[in-house]
Symmetry: C2
């Protein structure tokens, strides 16, 4: 029965990759990259092009660019999503890709998956009004609506497994070290 399930995920290839990397753990070390160029005001454009992994450089099929800005209510021009909305997009897409992969592995046919995310933030943090208020989200709620050939319980287990293996869920819920270097240039 599982053979008839097709969520578009090549689980066989992923399991083979896991076996290959188990034997060659150095190849599992990846570096993901982004280059962000300031445009004007709070508007920037981030380019995503290549990455390193499996011991070599790779190019994406095409370059991906992301505009970011602040909204008009903060006297900006709203030329792109806010940076904090980009984080929600990263979290949503990571959990969703995980749901599809786990469903394929468990022989569950998906018909539709939609994740709605809400991140609450008290702007007294970033505006420096109250130093007890953090800058980032105080809470993120994710609501999945999933239509699939499975029980509510099995669908919940799918999502739980996706959380357990999600890179972005880990980045958001646990601390990640960020180091920053600054160079003055003349262009």
């Amino acid at each position: 029965m599982a053979a008839a399930v097709d969520n578009g995920v090549n689980v066989g290839a992923l399991l083979e990759a896991r076996e290959a990397l188990r034997k060659a753990p150095e190849a599992a070390k990846f570096t993901w990259r982004a280059t962000c160029k300031w445009k004007k005001g709070t508007h920037s454009r981030t380019h995503i092009d290549g990455f390193h992994g499996l011991g070599q450089e790779h190019k994406h099929r095409t370059e991906f660019t992301f505009e970011a800005d602040h909204p008009e209510i903060f006297a900006s021009e709203d030329c792109g999503a806010t940076p904090v909305e980009l984080v929600l997009a990263g979290l949503a897409s990571c959990l969703t890709a995980g749901v599809a992969s786990v469903a394929q592995n468990r022989g569950i046919q998906l018909r539709s998956v939609e994740a709605k995310l809400e991140g609450s933030m008290d702007l007294q943090g970033i505006l420096g009004i109250d130093s007890d208020v953090r800058n980032g989200y105080d809470d993120i709620k994710v609501t999945f609506e999933i239509d699939a050939d499975a029980s509510q319980k099995d669908i919940e287990a799918l999502v739980a497994q996706s959380q357990k293996r999600s890179a972005v869920y880990d980045i958001v819920t646990n601390p990640t070290n960020v180091s920053v270097e600054v160079r003055k240039t003349n262009r």
Copy 2:
């Protein structure tokens, strides 16, 4: 001299907003939202449209959509950036917008700002090979190259202040609670 500096950030409006929110802290409570729809395999599309803040609903000038996918080396179709690259874009754009805002407030004219980000990740985590390896980034390096009318020291101070007030820097470097709810639907 500061009056002649123009980085395209309306600092006056931001300082007024801070004073207004200091008197009405309820209005500082924001909710940012994203809706992610599964396409096929690991490919999804996230829509960003409206948000809540200053006590009311707001729409962005236009809807923003973000494609996400996994690359071809994982047997996916590379229809978009990876979710972890989206997080880099969020971090890069947040710090960059902060640099522009702080520079404006300090009367420093920027000529160019570029941030290169590198996030290292050991895929033994997400592939479930080694449970001691985390799923997310083990380290993110940010390198700013900034051309501005200021000394290296003042430019470093700009970036440090941007980090101090950055929402995404806080989200990545500190733990954020994420709750997940799952509903089975029939579509």
